[in-house]
């Protein structure tokens, strides 16, 4: 099987996998990185949301062969290290607002939230209700209101 090299949570990794193996299964089944969750496998529920070079990406829809050796994949497990702290401000905001119910979607929600705040900041503006309405991550427990509150709080400290 071909070898693939990319950066994962700050470290270079090399895995044996078919070119078209989706990154989600490389992470979960080959590397044992289980923060990104399966919820649909077709990039609609967003439970697996992680970062590719700092932007929101869904590993269920990315063939591992599409990655370059310099591509930086960040999962929820590596998020705090990007700010060199025990918790990323968005994770802390999630705790402050007690967002979590079952928790299954929350790694993806947090990664989506961080990417949203970065994107909006790059556009030089504040988060709006429309931005929050545009988040596609499903929470079947219905924690949406607390997610909105936590994103606004987390954005203050990012």
């Amino acid at each position: 099987m071909p070898e693939h090299t990319f950066r994962l949570n700050g470290e270079q990794v090399t895995v044996d996998a078919a070119d078209d193996e989706r990154l989600l299964w490389v992470l979960r089944d080959v590397l044992g990185v289980t923060g990104p969750k399966y919820g649909c496998g077709i990039n609609v529920c967003k439970a697996c949301t992680s970062h590719l070079n700092g932007k929101a990406a869904n590993p269920c829809a990315i063939p591992v062969g599409d990655l370059e050796a310099t591509d930086e994949v960040t999962t929820i497990e590596g998020l705090a290290d990007t700010v060199d702290a025990d918790l990323h401000p968005m994770q802390q905001a999630w705790l402050d607002h007690d967002v979590v119910q079952c928790g299954y979607c929350q790694p993806g929600q947090i990664m989506a939230a961080v990417a949203l705040v970065r994107r909006v900041a790059a556009e030089g503006r504040e988060i709006t209700d429309d931005d929050l309405d545009g988040i596609r991550n499903i929470c079947r427990c219905g924690t949406y209101t607390r997610i909105r509150d936590a994103i606004r709080t987390g954005a203050q400290s990012m």
Binding site: I42, D98, Y104
Partner: protein, 768 residues
Amino acid sequence: MTNPDPPPLASGRPAPGRRRFLGYVLAAPTLVTAAELVPARAAGAAEIPSGEITELIDLNDVMTAAALPTAGLIKVEVHPDGTVSFALPRAEVGQGITTSTAMLIAEELDVPVGRVRVTLADARPELVFNQLTGASNTTISTYTPIRVAAAVARARLLRAAAAELGAAAGDLTLKAGVVTDSAGGSVGIGALAGKAAAVEPQRVAVELKDAGQFTVIGRPHSRIDALDAVTGRKKFAMDLDVPDARPTMVCRPPTINGKPGAVANLDEVRAMPGVTDVAVVSTGVAVRAQTFGQCIDAVRALRVSWKPGTAVGKSDDTVREELRRAELPMGLPPVTPSVDATFTFHFRSNSALEPNCAIADVRPDRAEVWSALKSPIVAKQAIAARLGLPPSRVTVHVTEGGGSFGRKLFFDAALEAAEISQRIGKPVKLMWHRADDSRQGRTHPMATSRVRAAYLGGTVLGYQQRHTSVATDLGHGLGELFTAMAARLPVGDIGFSQTFFHLSQSMPYDFGPHSRLLNETDKGFNTGSMRNVYSPDVVCARELVVDRLAAKMGKDPYGFRREFLRDERARAALEKVAEAGDWGRTMPEGTAQGIALHTEYHAVNAVLVEIDCRPGTVDRPIRDGVTGPRVTKAVLAVDAGLAVNPRGLEAQMMGCLMDGIAQALTSSLHLRDGHFLEASWDNYFYTRQWNTPPELQVIVMPDTSDEPGGAGELGVAASMAAVACAYGRATGTMPTSFPVNHGTLSFTPKPTVPPVPASPTDGLDHVR
């Protein structure tokens, strides 16, 4: 062990004040205490009911009473490192019971909540009925025994400290896990754990704290598992590393419950990359591989001849006709004016975000299973029977669940994983693809509800409701519970689904003689008790009729409800949302308020919402989503008797509201030609951020009881009803079919063969 005398039951709850309870100290190297008593408002005392059965006894009383004889086996353990642990015989699926349980222990034991570790107990058959998580009964049935066990531990620790410090126990204080004497000496509970242990089991009496002494119960507390969840460390079944348990999926039939026939290319699929095993099993063709990606590819490659299932040729229309034929007669029309209405509620999915999944390692002489299970004892028995093993050789571990909503009362994946593991002789990590979960998973059954309310002048003379439903499968242990309790139930000789229906449906309004009956038909569907079970549909129908009655009498919907409510707690909650939500304020055309009320689980919930049904809102563009009317504001008031954790209670009400919005407006399954069209989250429109009310207020009412009610499901019914009522007032037409957008198919159905969609490859195009 015997049960101490229960407290008096005569009229409702026992008298307040200090009560003595009996607990146990068990023989162990460290301090282990236990309790068995649930001082419940037990079932046996009820007389033959008149009009309102739920006032004498409700579903939760039955479940609590059923738990009585064996509850004694719940144990609190104090460890030498100063932590306290407890294996909760319930399933945590997001409802927050590990947190509330830790709070109960922290309260009575005077340790910080952070030092209490709550895990989920393996299936324990000796607990009989006391390991079923359902009907919002967990806190109701465990509130006292958990505190008793913790209080026994506290007393033992104080006694050990007295010996250690050379002081009288009465001069000691235990606070934050440290015992201090009046001379300034102190010792931590960790150092006392061994000294407080017992060599022989002992039975001891303890007093519990009065509510006035509480410093933990009733104060908002954040989830104890939140840190693990936000860091990705929280482990669900599919995250467990069980040796050699490889990814496994099943190629499933194109129609509901179809069966596999011949497979044309078994050898070809066995030779696919990563595939280790392919085997025909009772539900389809199982594939085990090195990755789930390889499983998906193999499932898609299989060419299987399928035999018909249990819903051949059926569609929404044919089921609607079946229901019509099963509807019980309403009787002759009344001579007075009346409101008559018929409502249709379509199939809904109770899929959680974590799909059906389980790990199974079956060997010739034993089996071990891991899954999020709300009825693990029944699962264990069923798995043992399927495998041909004695139950004592089957170990069932309860993992933390990624949501349930009724789904995890069943153990479909655990049973299937065990069958596959036995068949191929290897451990398996079985996961249902989302398409499997949507199309073959459990559903809330389609139902109709017919209501007739007769009135004259300002009086409602009578209320009849006839609910007709595709059968709800209760075969997950609740059935056994009811069967065993049947002799103690004042409902006569009727089946348990009817019993369930009667016990869960209340009539909060003074509507004269009233009756509500359930009739069920068609057991061909995979159904289950979706969150709040019958109540969302039954209450939605009732509250819409209440609005109609108010209109007929020329009364305001809020004023009418307030006038006819029979219960002070209900009236207080209703008044609170009307006040906080500014009921009756002037609103633009196409927008409106709606208000509704529901009582169940010894608790009360009132909901006020505002909805925007104007075209500019309904038609706003969202890719692959249903927008539709938007609930712009929601105010919920909840009286759960005694709120153990108000922050958790607020969270449950928020989730219930999102469910209610979904069921009123967007979420349903479409049945066509023996299968459901919905195959994923881009087809099944559960509430999304763009449907979420920008304004939400949850008000926890002051405690009205010294015992907690249930809350995990409570808010769905009134939320759905309030949204429906608001929709009717905004559009000028009472909705009669739910969800209101069911008539519009908002997506292109995915194929049924192969049963799962291909994994996309364009992920890099959507990085943002």
